[in-house]
Symmetry: none
Subunit: 416 residues, 2 copies
């Protein structure tokens, strides 16, 4: 079916918010076999909203509307939608109870404007919101189906699952398969070059469309095949995947939505190993990524963010003479930190990161972006230095991801 | 003038690329005093492009088109535009030379399709592209001005400067002021309720438009005024700001792009105080936020991510009997952690967070989302518990932000 994605919100057309919802929804709708033809956005303005809804009804069979479901006075998407559909707003009791429950659950007073969120166009199907207060709604008008989601990406994404089950199957009879290969360790240009020989036409390998998507510091390879039969689609995709894996090897760390920290966590759990980390320049990001994985407490013991030199010394038993002789950002100190955190925590694996995030602190010999990563483990040690001159934020991200990726490779190569 | 921003490209409507160009252009056009009313995107499809151009000509005075100026066969924006303007395409000699020079510079062979990029609608003003091969073009049609930019953000942004000089000053002589107030500690609904009495019309206070924008876990209040004179605009905005500040008090932690961690960092630096943190359930996120601020090493000494009970005990000198009697997630343990990290680091301020991130580990008495936050400082101690049942990711974010916000309030209230 033909799809339009309509964002409602002054913050979107004013450029205060980048409309990532449109891209996310497009990807999902395409996966479901639909055709996205239009993205549009209008401000919180009744006349412009009515016009946009009318236009969408004219040209699309599925209209996905995001934004304007909040409790504040500038959130009135459903009010305008009801006007457009020529139906009244009706209190949806279940949603009201849900909203009340939400406030009760964390002991907050509920303001009366919050009740407005339970007012839905009469005849609409409700899309419950598990993560927030604003319910969504689905409404059919003539040939078109309208779905209303909150603008908050997480809530919208969570609710999309329920919506997609309401959607009729697309008319096209093609079987579709898709897979995402998650990669780390090669920049996009080098990945493209590595795969160049495989590409037929634009970005096609064995009847499978291949697309790059940078999700810094990782890169996704998105594979998509469509064929007359399911087995042919499956076969095309797995052939393409095998060819790609041959070229990229262990740069592919996972599939689908798997993160480096999830892959590392699964390996640690499987091997029943425990991990501790000592960081300076990444400032806690490595520990925070590791603990983003639920169940991390099974294998993650301790993190130390040693930001001052004294802390490195005292806590991690880094030798003062190592810092004096080689500097805090050095192979020697990285290794001593890894050994120190492993020893003090009693963990099987100790990982250490020390470096210069910038914007100050660099020198000719050790420029901003220099980072040393070390791993101490039962059967050995590993250490390497890198230069990631990408600015403070990205430096932290790529340094932490590099440590995780190395941990992954060592875990894969070692029996315990 | 009324502005529409139109993206052309299948990769945009397919969601392979997030349309950041629209937000960037919106911000620039608003700074120049224009009003952006529409964002839209269509695929590389002649019929849909012609329709989108016609629609834009109808409703906007300035139409900014991005994408489809590349050398490949699916780049034909200017071809379609010429058709729409009913003029032929013409070779622009200077642009051709520029493209040739570009290839020469990099010692690359120029493919013949690259020459196509020098074909512009007759009568168009050229926008030279310093960073790439595709020139842009500006074309006037009746009341509307159309500008065509490449989809590559850097090239588009560089070329926008030249384009903006071609733009007539906005017809309206209004002076504009804008300000963002960053808030934490009240949910959106309660902020709205607190301000409700001030609102005239939908969201206006003293000639100033007010908008909410959730940037979880913080909320922005966006203020905008427009008036005949600069002083009136200024005056309206500052009056509205004063009224809002009276209602929201110290929920407003900063202005513009300031983050909680920046505000806290500035206070610590100004007071020459040093900070250390001990976290369990936030798993390093608090330390990572603190160290996202450049120069954090001036005041941030040490972070400990105590994920296992033994680590809390040993390292932070939490009493075993406190854990036994009250549990690891308790006021007593939070306070002991804050004291412990303060003592072991020698910092002036010790902050501790202990809680249950979920999805497992909750009980009837201490449900998932329970968190205790404690601060130990030279002249006192503070401790409080909260319930944030928002799922693991958001739990970590709101717990870390709550700790930062409390630190901010204590720093503001205490002389040292």
């Amino acid at each position: 079916m033909i799809v339009e994605i309509l964002a409602i919100g002054t913050e979107v057309v004013d450029g205060d918010v980048v409309n990532t919802n449109a891209a996310w929804l497009s990807q999902r709708m395409i996966e479901l076999g639909h055709e996205v033809r239009f993205h549009s956005a209008v401000p919180d303005d009744e006349v412009l909203m009515l016009d946009a809804l009318a236009r969408a009804a004219d040209r699309a069979q599925v209209v996905l509307v995001t934004g304007g479901l909040g409790p504040t006075v500038d959130d009135f998407t459903l009010e305008v939608a009801a006007k457009f559909f020529q139906v009244p707003l009706e209190l949806h009791q279940e949603s009201l109870e849900r909203i009340r429950g939400f406030f009760k659950k964390f002991n907050r007073a509920m303001s009366s404007n919050q009740e407005r969120q339970a007012m839905l166009p009469k005849g609409a199907t409700v899309l419950p919101n598990k993560l927030g207060t604003a319910p969504g709604a689905v409404f059919s008008l003539a040939e078109s189906q309208f779905a209303f989601f909150p603008g908050v990406p997480k809530e919208m994404q969570e609710m999309f699952g329920n919506f997609s089950r309401l959607l009729p199957k697309p008319a096209t009879e093609l079987s579709r398969r898709r897979k995402v290969l998650r990669c780390f360790g090669l920049p996009e240009g080098q990945m493209d070059a590595a795969l160049r020989d495989l590409f037929k036409g634009r970005m096609e390998i064995h009847g499978t469309q291949v697309g790059f998507r940078v999700r810094f510091p990782t890169i996704d390879l998105r594979l998509r095949s469509a064929a007359a039969s399911a087995s042919e689609a499956e076969n095309n995709l797995s052939t393409a995947e095998a060819l790609i894996r041959e070229k990229l090897g262990d740069c592919i760390f996972g599939e689908g939505e798997a993160s480096l920290e999830q892959v590392v966590g699964a390996l640690l759990r499987q091997k029943q190993l425990r991990l501790a980390v000592a960081e300076s320049c990444t400032g806690g990001l490595l520990a925070s990524l590791i603990t983003d994985v639920s169940g991390a407490s099974e294998y993650f013991v301790l993190g130390v963010v040693a930001y001052a030199n004294e802390s490195k010394l005292q806590l991690l038993e880094v030798k003062p003479e190592s810092i004096e002789k080689f500097g805090a950002v050095s192979s020697e100190v990285a290794l001593e930190m890894a050994r120190g955190i492993r020893k003090m925590s009693g963990a099987d694996y100790g990982v250490a990161i020390t470096g210069i995030a910038g914007p100050t602190g660099g020198s000719a010999e050790k420029p901003i972006g220099t980072v040393h990563i070390a791993v101490a483990y039962p059967t050995g040690e590993w250490e390497k230095n890198y230069l990631f001159p990408f600015g403070r934020d990205r430096f932290k991200q790529v340094a932490a991801a590099t440590a995780l990726d190395r941990l992954r490779r060592i875990l894969l190569a070692n029996p315990s």
